[in-house]
Symmetry: C2
Subunit: 334 residues, 2 copies
């Protein structure tokens, strides 16, 4: 039995392409004393994966020759730790491979849900990122205007619907008319803007006539700057990602208006990761599950079949081709 691994052959200097990766097979590792062997069921693909190739962030950087890093849901296959038994489903940073061995502290048990993919999308890091970003940092009030970039993406689509439930007027940005239609029809947004069709400042003024109170930013770059100039006094910018800057060797210049507009408009900008709100994790999962059960929160998943498809699927994600949460199903029955 082999352990398929996808390795980053070489860090890209510009745009990431499938050719930067290579598939290899290694023996399945054997867990040592106190260790646990797990098998990857679902592999999360995230824009942040690309940012990890640029160096140290909140997690270890990906170096040339590494098995590509990635967040996974996995099943315990063999355990030398009393806390885990075969069949348990866990969260683990397995990376892009079938099997990995971990110390128990690197694993977190996951409540079995059906479909299991929900534990990676709406109930996983994705959903909780949207939840905490919107409710702890954005804090929209009824009647306020909330703008969300990459609104048809994994985090954006959930963040947008959560803002809607708070009674805000919600405007989404997406890169195609089809995504905009989906945001309006399925997610109930008040407006959706295809940012590729015209100059953004004008479109923002048109669709946010009262200005922007909360901007949930997944992209950075020119869209960040355009939103900044339309922010209302005491507005909040949720700094969740900067995908426009990840897949390039030449990031755009910084946004004009920083820090001047932050000062005169008394804005708050904040970056965060889900672990910053660890104490509220269970409550977040419970509420998200309730909203899904009640049909108030639509879950969009974009599942690619087979580990070997991961390189192409990540490049596609960076080009904006996904609708909702993109992941790779590594084991067919997962």
């Amino acid at each position: 039995m082999a352990n398929r691994q996808i390795v980053l052959k070489q860090k890209p200097s510009g745009k990431l392409a499938p050719e930067h990766f290579a598939l290899r097979e290694e023996p399945v590792p054997t867990p040592g004393p106190g260790e646990v062997l797990v098998r990857t069921l679902l592999l999360s693909l995230d824009a942040a994966n690309r940012a990890w190739m640029h160096g140290r962030t909140y997690t270890d950087p990906v170096e040339s020759g590494d098995v590509m890093h990635g967040f996974t849901l996995a099943r315990v296959e063999a355990s030398n730790d009393p806390g885990f038994k075969p069949g348990d489903v866990v969260e683990a940073m397995n990376g892009w491979q079938d099997y990995a061995v971990h110390k128990p502290g690197a694993l977190a048990k996951v409540t079995p849900v059906k479909p299991l993919s929900h534990a990676m999308s709406v109930l996983g890091v994705t959903g909780k990122t949207a939840y905490f970003g919107m409710l702890e940092i954005g804090r929209p009030k009824p009647g306020e205007t909330v703008l969300i970039s990459a609104a048809a993406g994994a985090v954006g689509s959930i963040a947008a619907q959560i803002a809607r439930m708070q009674g805000a007027r919600v405007v989404g940005l997406a890169g195609s008319d089809a995504k905009c239609q989906w945001l309006l029809r399925e997610c109930g947004l008040d407006a959706a803007i295809n940012y590729k069709t015209a100059a953004l400042p004008k479109l923002l003024r048109q669709h946010c006539p009262k200005g922007i109170d909360v901007y949930f930013d997944n992209v950075g770059g020119d869209i960040f700057e355009a939103a900044l100039f339309q922010m209302n006094e005491r507005g909040r910018i949720v700094c969740c990602g900067a995908v426009s800057q990840y897949d390039t060797a030449t990031p755009t210049a910084g946004p004009r208006g920083v820090p001047g507009l932050i000062v005169v408009k008394r804005l708050k900008l904040q970056g965060f990761i889900v672990m910053d709100y660890y104490n509220k994790r269970a409550e977040a999962e419970r509420r998200l599950a309730e909203w899904v059960g009640e049909g108030r929160l639509k879950v969009a998943e974009d599942i690619v079949e087979g580990l070997e498809k991961a390189p192409e699927a990540l490049c596609g994600l960076l080009a904006g081709e996904n609708l909702g949460k993109r992941m790779v199903r590594v084991v067919p029955e997962a």
Copy 2:
């Protein structure tokens, strides 16, 4: 009896110069029913005065032909309102003139202190800006590193000393060796950097070897960018001013690393004005007065004599020539 007024003849397109202003004399105005006539005692000069010429901020913009706007301490000369009587000292937005008439709602009584200038510096907007910015947004913990730009300025010098009282390691940036010496000797800073002497990123790495936890920014521009790149995870940036960008028609490009570094370092950036913390105003004044009384907080004032000196004094402030709070004494005995 005349009311001297200094008018902004024409908004500057580039650098502000004394020639942009003109002195004129008008009759002293007469208060109507319910109105109050006040006389300017002390006129505050602030970098923000220049920003007001660029357009709408948290206050009305200054237009060509306006009496220059400015914050003042004033004395009631005549009152048609039962809440005010001649001799009361009040805060008022008189602007650059001897006399003004106000509705009572535009005036706030000031507790008489000696010297009165303290009500404009450490106990006024300046001191409270430093206090709230550092304690409500920066929130330095003992042992953390706090960096302050324009540290020998009005707000910076107080903010630096407040951070020191919290047990933080405090590093100040200033534009001359003399100011740096003053910061070290009088204000007790741990390090002071003359940012004009060498490349800032290197100086920051040298003087902030553990990185920066709190950056209290008064200047924006290149210094903001250099600080951003040295911030630690979960750092806070107090966005208090952007003086490097005010006195020019060509602001620098925005800082690189926004919003990317905000995301990966989970930073918080926040702009504010003193009125955002109105409820805590009395407590702030009480504590600031205590610290001054105990000799723990040094107050630096840079008082220019005579209303006619205001244009030159503001231009000098924008060029960084002041040490501490610059103001104009309009009435000799004030």
